[in-house]
Chain length 449, copies 2
């Protein structure tokens, strides 16, 4: 078992029978996922993905990553939302903390995840003199943020390498057969990879969307898929008493029903920061609808014990704290004795830094539970490609079950269109004329005289 | 006016008279801050700081920064909480996005803000071959995280430069006269800078705590103090009708009293990410006590419109969205026409990217207000050292007033001790013996048989 889930530190807030009562409902939710019969059932491709993925494409991904690594100093990954956070979370969790500054690494940068002219201009300045490749990731090819970035970077590459040279350095991850990016890729002859129709963005890290950048960073995607496959087997079990992924789903719903409204994902390793961002999208976008859902927030400890710690300890009591723990540190380091001991630290001399970190985590848990914050622990044995794959599946499965228990469709995101439609209207996109007039009237009416 | 505050997009959630009713109470809170008569009145040194700071020390800060820049490739800043977030927020907001990778810049790295052996080992590996200086920031010198990092880095530097050479490269920002770090610095002859007794960590960015690293990064701290001084003059005005910093305090309290419990600080420029982290500490640590306070969260847009956007649009309706906007972008960039127009983007060709970003912001605001999220706007004319200084003071003053209106002491942080005491006990720190026995009994009792 490389992942364990422990809710014993929530049992002063929710009783065991409350969890047990979820058992039969969890069975129903399990069946909906596995028989594809619930809301959002067109988007359940992720459920069996780790057990049956396209081996031919997987081999092509590894081959493309190898080519990128052989001729590029850096890969620029263009994508937003699910086409951004999965890859970034894996790469930051598992690579060297200063990956992009270490000799001999294929650097990975992200673009198209914002509309900042400062960001992209600085990116181009920094890339000066580097050999680069591009992986553009978009199902449609028309999402505003990545489309703008791709226009700019494609022109940059065609100037740098010529049209022909650029073609060999641009990789498109997109729809299998339709859409603007697929059409362009076919015309230009870019190598393409598939975003499956039945896997939503936030569940896509184990498809080409995540795997190509992750492999290009030098990580072992075979191990990652093996971990995910092990988890797919392990959590394919409708029994709440033994399925820890489902227990996580049940406990957070039980706490939500008694008034907890914010869930903090906390880590004690800074490299997990973007895993929390990925998790926030997974749960926030799956559950935040119909005016419901735990608000997903995150903290990096012990860093944020010195900023958000006061609130967690003594603020409004509507928090749940879920710790994403790692048992075995990637690197051990022993704290040395200091003769002067002016800093008074000699009581930890001879211990490893991780032992101190672990006692900080334990001390924090006890303090927060005392303060009225139920505590859940998702613990990985270690931080590797294998456990990352397992963790992804653990949370994906929990999220599907949790959303169904909450009574939402965990696989759509209708609310994401609202700002886009307004933006398109305001920018004068063809087809949005009447909405534009309406918005402009409204803005004019709101102006103070 | 380089900062404006606009709450017109909250007026369908809170009426003008509700804000007006705060007027006399704001006067009372104003007097408490300026006459130093309320709770936490020993920590009001920040109120007049920008108007009357130690010019001799300020000159020494600039001189030390100059020295660091002349002989070091990188400065390592050791600190946590308020001794970390202020400097980092300014440097990331105002420097090149890829500052640490650009030729000719003095790189800035942070340490002592976590207890990760992986992080600090990777940091040392990355520093291989660089000339470095160290700024250790700690009032007491015994805070666990920075103390561990300083033990490691001091040893590293003494090995690299010899004891004598290291002394000239280590700068200590600490208590004026007492504490472990002050004692060590005096013994070793490190140059020291002062953390004033009457300025708490989260209000300390405009003291040596923030200013030395900010100046070492090549930023103009004269301009930053000038902006803060202008704001100190401008917001030294008890009248709610004209003091926009106080309006922000009043509006967020009005919304809190009608059930809003989470405030999201949103930006549309990725370089503001750490300004949000700084803001989260400022407000979370000031207000999150006595089981009260808005939970401070943050989002980077448009990035997070594709992750947290669904929740903001349609999740639980207990959110306030405060946008930290920047009127004039640091860099302009025009979107080019594309002959094929496969991405369908030609309707924005000829516009600047920032015009698109601004319409995204406007479209988002309209969508979120329609969805039930009151919207506040704090707008900076531009993003410079001057406006950064203004913004810091705008939020600090608003936070003091807001906390007093909420009925808490905005200047203490009693809850931060809880985890520390547990950690010290668990680690066997002398003096914590009885607490250790108690905790171990408790843990043993909680173990499943």
């Amino acid at each position: 078992m490389a992942i364990t889930f422990d809710y014993s530190n929530a049992l002063s807030f929710v009783q065991q029978h409350e969890i047990d009562y979820f058992g039969d409902f969890v069975n129903v939710a399990h069946r909906k996922l596995h028989e594809k019969e619930g809301p959002g059932s067109d988007y359940l491709g992720w459920v069996n993905l780790p057990l049956a993925y396209d081996q031919e494409e997987f081999a092509r991904i590894k081959h493309a990553a190898q080519r990128i690594r052989s001729h590029s100093d850096a890969l620029i990954v263009i994508g937003i939302g699910g086409s951004y956070l999965g890859a970034r979370s894996a790469i930051e969790a598992l690579s060297h903390t200063f990956h992009n500054q270490m000799e001999g690494k294929t650097q990975i940068y992200f673009a198209g995840q914002n509309i900042s002219s400062t960001y992209i201009t600085h990116l181009l300045e920094m890339l000066e003199g580097k050999n680069i490749s591009l992986n553009v990731i978009s199902k449609s090819g028309t999402t505003t943020e990545p489309a703008i970035a791709f226009r700019i970077l494609r022109e940059y590459m065609e100037k740098k390498y010529g049209k022909h040279g650029a073609r060999r350095r641009i990789f498109a991850t997109t729809d299998q057969s339709k859409g603007a990016l697929k059409k362009l890729a076919d015309e230009e002859g870019y190598e393409t990879f598939v975003i499956p129709d039945d896997v939503g963005g936030r569940y896509s890290v184990l498809t080409a969307v995540g795997l190509l950048p992750i492999a290009a960073a030098g990580l072992d995607i075979d191990q990652m898929m093996a971990g995910a496959a092990a988890a797919a087997e392990k959590y394919n079990n409708p029994d709440l008493a033994t399925n820890e992924s489902y227990q996580y789903a049940a406990v957070r719903n039980a706490l939500y029903r008694k008034g907890k409204s914010i869930e903090l994902l906390a880590n004690f390793e800074p490299s997990l920061h973007f895993v929390s961002e990925w998790w926030k999208q997974l749960f926030g976008e799956s559950e935040g609808k119909d005016q419901k859902g735990l608000y997903p927030a995150s903290v990096d400890f012990t860093t944020d014990l010195h900023s958000m710690g006061q609130y967690v300890q003594e603020g409004r009591r509507d928090l749940i704290e879920t710790v994403l723990a790692v048992k075995k540190p990637r690197i051990e380091l022993t704290i040395q004795e200091d003769e002067g001991n002016l800093d008074g630290l000699n009581f930890v001399a001879g211990m490893t830094m991780d032992e101190v970190n672990k006692q900080a985590a334990l001390g924090t848990r006890l303090a927060h539970v005392d303060g009225g914050v139920p505590n859940l622990i998702v613990e990985l044995d270690e931080l590797t490609e294998y456990t990352y794959g397992e963790m992804v599946y653990f949370f994906e499965k929990a999220c599907g079950i949790s959303g169904l228990l909450l009574g939402v469709n965990p696989f759509d995101q209708p609310g994401v269109e609202a700002y886009k439609n307004n933006m398109f209207a305001l920018l004068g996109k063809p087809g949005f004329e009447s909405q534009k007039a309406e918005l402009l009237n409204r803005i004019a009416a709101a102006k103070p005289e």
